[in-house]
């Protein structure tokens, strides 16, 4: 076995540690067939999707990582392990006192806000919940990101469109298969006055990936395959990061997580203090923290880049969407996060407020377990997809704040296959496929969480009602608390999951692997599917770099 193979397997092993020893092979029922389609194209795996998945035609081997991931998406479209639903939109209400455009990754950066008039200098934002503490490495959810990322920064980040840009790193490169190197920016002050050193960067990385350094960080699985970091040269300000194997998305991961902290400040203070105070390098410094109530920032005048355009930024919360909208309408807040469709008209009809919507990084889907009847039949799974009128769901349930999907990877993400269209509604074809699957007369139940995702229950009810319209299938929806569903899907055993369930998945790395690997690979932490062909496509994709991302 070559060295390359060894290191690749080590990384995949690390990435796949999410589940306890699940056999890689093991396709059962009809779930395992590879069903290549006709009409290969000149792109790497970007073949045109077909509605005749049972026909077998040879396809050329992809040559690039992008090609393998596109092929993986095509496989998912054809084998339909999910009912493909919609991409969720982030919908904000905003006041005319400010100029601001939302980002795809759902994060709100106050640095991007500009005042439109004198009232826009002090900006207030209301989101649905407050932080889970101010430690930037001890959380993994957007509301806390929105708070800590005003004061903390990473080595890399993404711009509004999702492209990776340097922040505290001035350069980054892959030295060899298991080492990447960052050059740390000089003359960067922390809010406490200390200067950023390469040692701070190495410590921050180790604090996430090594449980023996400080905390048990929930971001460790986002930097999977990163084994540790060390200062290579104080003089050149370089930090080397050691990887378990070739990690194609290592820079995408660093652009999402790994905020840099001041080592001496962290070591001098306990967890409770670090969770109530901040010492970052970001464009805003903490001025007031009232746990669960309000976080207020002042512009950091010594910021290494241009100081922010606004003077203060305050974040508070209201769990009720109507309360957030009321605050916006009465001028108490400038940005209301997560405005539900039913509140949109109130914001649009009010003078001085408007709606800003942007496609988010979250996809909604209905997983169908490949190992139970009737979902062990690809024909049956396709039939369910054909039964759904996605356009109608997007228009009527989501009031156009969503877009239909036909593959696990969202448009604009690395590995997205642009030739795949969402399944069209075709009841006749659906009924015919049900007959072919041998499961005519099947009764199926869709399990949906309540209020976890935008209009999740309403979407599930619409899906169940549309499938129920088929003459040879009965479908219904059952609501459960999100925590109940979570306890079933996170055990690491496919058998513990409901046969058919609605889930949403946010992918902050903008890379197909971060959706397909955990949700559909045989050894994925949350997988509902096993297929040799898909596994080998992912395996090949992960053995190639994707620096163009």
């Amino acid at each position: 076995m070559s060295e390359k193979d060894t290191s690749r397997r080590r990384f995949l092993q690390a990435a796949g540690s999410a589940t306890a020893a699940v056999a890689l092979a093991g396709c059962s029922g009809n779930g395992g067939e590879a069903t290549p389609t006709d009409e290969p194209t000149d792109s790497d795996g970007g073949e045109t999707a077909t509605t005749e998945p049972q026909e077998t035609t040879e396809r050329p081997e992809p040559e690039t990582r992008d090609g393998y991931l596109q092929r993986a998406n095509l496989h998912c479209h054809e084998q339909a392990p999910w009912v493909f639903l919609n991409r969720q939109y982030s919908v904000y209400g905003q006041s005319s006192d400010i100029e601001w455009q939302p980002r795809t990754d759902e994060r709100v950066s106050a640095y991007a806000i500009e005042p439109a008039n004198d009232d826009g200098d002090d900006v207030v934002m209301t989101q649905s919940q407050m932080d889970s503490g101010l430690d930037p490495q001890d959380h993994r959810e957007t509301p806390t990101d929105n708070i800590v990322l005003q004061a903390y920064e990473g080595l890399l980040e993404r711009d509004r469109e999702g492209t990776i840009v340097e922040t505290l790193a001035t350069d980054y490169q892959r030295l060899d298969e298991t080492t990447v190197q960052f050059t740390v920016r000089d003359n960067v002050p922390f809010h406490s006055g200390d200067s950023l050193t390469p040692e701070d960067v190495a410590y921050s990385i180790n604090r996430i990936v090594d449980p023996d350094v400080g905390i048990e960080s929930p971001q460790v699985d986002q930097l999977i395959g990163v084994e540790g970091a060390e200062v290579e040269s104080e003089e050149d300000r370089t930090v080397n990061v050691n990887l378990a194997g070739l990690n194609p998305i290592v820079f995408a991961s660093f652009a999402t997580y790994c905020d840099v902290m001041n080592r001496s400040w962290v070591e001098e203070n306990d967890d409770a203090y670090i969770n109530q105070n901040m010492d970052g390098t970001g464009p805003f410094e903490l001025s007031n923290y009232e746990q669960g109530v309000e976080v207020a920032f002042d512009r950091f005048e010594d910021y290494w880049d241009e100081p922010a355009a606004i003077s203060t930024f305050t974040i508070n919360s209201a769990s009720e969407s109507s309360t957030r909208v009321n605050r916006l309408l009465s001028g108490e807040t400038d940005i209301a996060v997560n405005v539900p469709p039913q509140e949109v008209s109130r914001v649009e009809e009010n003078d001085g407020t408007s709606i800003s919507a942007v496609p988010s990084t979250r996809i909604l889907f209905n997983a169908m377990r490949y190992d139970v009847e009737p979902f062990d039949s690809p024909e049956f799974r396709q039939a369910v997809n054909y039964a759904i009128d996605l356009d109608s769901i997007v228009e009527n349930v989501l009031q156009t704040f969503g877009s239909p999907t036909g593959q696990p990877t969202l448009e604009g993400f690395f590995g997205h296959n642009g030739d795949i269209d969402p399944y069209p509604q075709d009841l006749e074809r659906a009924e015919q496929l049900v007959e072919e699957s041998g499961y005519a007369g099947a009764e199926i139940e869709l399990v949906t969480p309540i209020g976890r995702y935008l209009r999740d229950v309403e979407i599930a009810q619409a899906v169940a009602a549309q499938v129920d319209e088929l003459s040879n299938v009965s479908a219904s929806a059952r609501q459960v608390e999100f925590s109940t569903l979570v306890s079933q899907v996170t055990t690491g055993n496919i058998e513990d999951k409901p046969p058919w369930y609605l889930l949403g998945w946010g992918n902050a790395t903008f890379d197909a692997i971060q959706t397909i690997q955990p949700l559909l690979a045989s050894d994925g932490a949350l997988t509902s599917y096993k297929n040799d062909e898909l596994d080998s496509l992912l395996d090949e994709a992960q053995s190639l770099p994707s620096e163009s991302n």
């Binding site: 540690s17 889970s132 449980p211 699985d221 409770a272 009232e290 309360t323 108490e332 979570v486 932490a525």
Partner: protein
Amino acid sequence: MGYGRFLLKRGVQGVGVVWGVVTVVFVLRFITPGSPIDTVAPLDASQETRRRIAEELGLNEPLYIQYLDYLWELLHGNMGYSYISSIPASVQVFQKLPATLELAIAASVVAIVLSIPLGVISATRRHEPADYAATTFSLLGISTPNFWLGIMLVLVFAVQFDVFPTSGRAHGFMQALAAITGPAPFFEVAREWLASLFLPAITLGTYFTALITRLVRSGMLDELSEGYVRATRAKGLPETLVRYKHVLRNTLVPVVTVLGLQLGTLIGGAVITEAVFAWPGLGSEIIRAINARDWPILQGSLIVIGTGFVLLNIAVDALYAYLDPRVMAE
């Protein structure tokens, strides 16, 4: 039974009830779906990460060990650490308690100030338009759900007329008090504090206003038909004195009892009002803790509310026994 012994007995009973509350709250964690690990770990966390988190939270220990550990720590004033923020639960809970107490007391003040005059007018002008208006109000007040009333008040008085803020708590009582000597202008701070308190207090207090209005009305009607009222009138006492010095005073005894006990209910009832007004009190904290399965915070909040309720009951019992020693014999 002596008064001291009576108080001791009630105290011991109270400790038993609090222990029961603690036990029920502890057991709740194990019969509620969802694991604390899911609170801390991301959805796609590896089984290895989950195992380490379970170890860190002490979830691998047998149930009785966890229970005894919890009781032991509680006796030392330690409610554990929030799974979410890592802040001690006792700190987080007691930080939120003043806002809820403030709201509950303000709602009680609203109830007292409005209900007693309404009840008196209603009883003394029985079957007159004022009586019909008061009884209609109490019927509406009892039947109107808190959350609906809150939303309507916000839409009318905050969004439409911009008289009060839509939600949130400005400053708080202590800060308003501190502004007397502090650099901030006192009147402005106090005005903002009262303005933010007004709509939530009305929302939470309306039900109790209606309830006590009915209580005062029926109590007063009962008293007015008593013999001593006829006697006082026969003695030539002015009607105002009869009503307010004799009748109302007797009517208020059960009202005070109900008010005392309702303060506990108000703290519990504040959960919905706090959610509507984004009031940063214990109610909002409980909702957040339930959604996030942040058990140390939820357990701490419930134990504080339960203990408060028990103490309030003991205080009312003690007051009753003092006023009417026959209670001790029962």
